[in-house]
């Protein structure tokens, strides 16, 4: 009896020991004052590395890490090296908050990520409270940078991506004017606020322009079989199908649509931008499809070409839009640090708010009053397996 209890106790103690070791190393990092003399500039990379959207998070992380390495190789910023602190927020908002708090404890000057609007929202209160800037690579919901209730801009939250209204409106205009569509079906990812936002603005603009929405359907993240709903949509025979969502679902969706004999043009947003689109859906199926984007990865702009090459060299894969946006987040931050000539988070924030004509791989951008990037939009068409710029729209 006694020995059994001792064993239990010993086990318990052992667990506690392990715990305290872990807890101990968690608490030690970064004891210096914010903005004080540090050897490196710590940048938090708080992204989704596990859970539902781990693939977006890790691609953005790859982009950001590449940017940090390039900058450090070129001598760093203000004579200091950047230090990227990678953390996993498990694709959950509360974890994003917890990670941000931990990063703040390590004296970061800014945070890159998380990817989805919901997880950025989890992180937001911490960043606001500690007055440290957050740059979101891909959070597109309008209320990420603006408080809907008060209409005030959230002072420390920035992003490098489009917001939903822009892309949805753009595609609606394109469909109605350039493709002369009278009827449209919407089949979007309803588990994503991004896709839902796009769908809502598309619908608004398209109907304003006299078009009719003949079918509204949805899928959820992780779906791979769209045959049933596509069969239904085929029955309503639309002139245009709007499919806002991410390439993981969209690519097989388009493929299945074509296999079912749906020939109508299909359109979407920047979530489509990935080399996997062509390898999954195939060149043929992608003909007559269009999406709104910041840039084209097959752009001949040297900045884009360099980025794609460097990325391929490092990771042995093609960058998707998340990787490009993650890369731009770091570049934007570096420009802000340089302009502020300081690593003080408040000064960086001020600099970020005033950035003009920043040249990123996802295009030239200027940060507006609501901390959204004002950047050119393009409509990209897939033609026989390659992206071609169909229309270029300057804001």
């Amino acid at each position: 009896m006694i020995s059994r209890r001792n064993k239990k106790l010993a086990f318990l103690l052992a667990m506690m020991l392990v715990l305290s070791i872990f807890a101990g190393c968690g608490g030690q990092a970064g004891e210096e004052e914010p903005g004080g003399e540090t050897a490196t500039i710590p940048v938090g990379i708080n992204v989704e590395l596990s859970g539902a959207v781990a693939s977006y998070g890790s691609n953005a992380r790859d982009g950001a890490v590449l940017a940090i390495e390039e900058i450090n190789a070129a001598g760093g910023v203000l004579g200091k090296q950047l230090e990227g602190l990678q953390r996993d927020c498990k694709s959950i908002a509360d974890e994003a908050m917890s990670v941000s708090a931990a990063l703040v404890g390590e004296n970061i000057v800014a945070q890159i990520g998380p990817l989805t609007s919901g997880n950025v929202a989890g992180s937001t209160p911490i960043m606001m409270e500690n007055k440290i800037p957050l740059i979101a690579p891909a959070a597109t919901a309008a209320n990420v940078t603006v408080d809907e209730k008060t209409g005030e801009t959230r002072g420390y939250i920035f992003r490098v991506c489009f917001i939903d209204p822009f892309q949805g409106t753009l595609m609606a205009q394109f469909a109605a004017e350039n493709l002369e569509a009278k009827t449209a079906a919407i089949y979007g990812d309803t588990s994503s606020d991004y896709a839902k936002g796009l769908a809502a603005y598309f619908k608004e603009t398209f109907t304003e322009m006299g078009g009719t929405i003949v079918a509204e359907e949805g899928f959820v993240k992780g779906d791979r079989d769209f045959n049933a709903t596509l069969t239904k949509i085929k029955g309503s025979n639309p002139d245009f199908i709007y499919v806002p969502g991410y390439y993981e679902e969209v690519a097989p969706l388009i493929k299945q649509a074509r296999e079912l004999g749906i020939t109508a043009p299909i359109g979407g947003g920047d979530g489509w931008d990935s080399p996997d689109m062509i390898s999954v859906a195939g060149a043929e199926a992608l003909n007559n499809t269009f999406f709104t984007n910041h840039y084209s990865s097959q752009d001949t702009d040297p900045k884009v070409v360099d980025f794609v090459e460097a990325f391929k060299a490092k990771y042995n894969k093609e960058p998707d839009s998340f990787a490009a946006l993650g890369y731009d987040c770091v570049q934007l931050l570096v420009q802000a640090i340089t302009e502020a000539n300081s690593t003080d988070p408040q000064k960086i924030t001020d600099a970020l708010a005033n950035i003009k004509d920043f040249q990123g791989v996802t295009g030239k951008m200027t940060i507006d009053e609501q901390h959204n990037p004002v950047k050119a939009g393009v409509i990209i068409e897939f033609k026989d397996g390659s992206q071609t710029v169909n229309t270029r729209i300057q804001p």
Partner: protein, 293 residues
Amino acid sequence: MLEFLQQMINGLSLGAIYALIALGYTMVYGIIKLINFAHGDIMMVGAYVGFFSITLLGTDIVVAMLAAMIFCAILGVIMEKVAYRPLRNSTRIAALITAIGLSLFLEYITVVILGPTQKVFPASAFPVKAYNIAGLSILNKQVFVFVSAVLLMVILQYIIKRTKTGKAMRAVSLDREAAVLMGISVDRTISITFAIGSALAAAAGVMIGVYYQTINPLMGIIPGLKAFVAAVLGGIGLVPGAMVGGFVMGLLETLVMGYGNSLYRDAVAFGVLIIILLIRPTGLFGKNTGEKV
């Protein structure tokens, strides 16, 4: 009507995949009464093995499938030996937690090694052709999935019903102690069950790869859960139940997506499960055995 038939075709190919995964669930459950939550993840591993077999070794789809099945059969046996066997006499909930642990382990070890982003099955591995029969569009890959699933089920049924090993598996699941008295090695039989169940999951994984072309480390979670629901629907532990349950799930989801609100697809599938359990607490084909007092 045409649309309805088209939906049926869609539902049957989806159902075939569910059925194949559900079979492994049901076999393992039948023999050690364990909900092997890692089963969906074995399917994922199978898909990856198939993928690498095609892309790195340049094999064709059949060889890829065989390779995946062999690899996962071994993986299943190891998992059982290392993680489940020590718990055979513990509570079932402890085994359940181990299964959850194994599931997370397989998912994230894959993420760590291969990254969380999806991989694309090369289209050349299985060139898709569409047949148009009386206005219905049938794809060769749908036929492939359906036929190979049915074929594997027939083989499985043959193994279980006709071979000595299969009979030993049934004997162990019916009465483990009596089976021991026949000289059947329970450990070996359970290992074989894991091997076969995992091989079937691997086959399903490669089929999903062919059918949907993309695979990722978390791809096993949802089909795994659905297949488990299918197995319970049919009466867990019963091979024919798993097959029927799989097809019912496939058809049901397709019909909800085709004729109802596709967003309620999962809710309807789970709702039907609950209703069936309430009417027939042991599933469609399960026998209601009263407790002995």
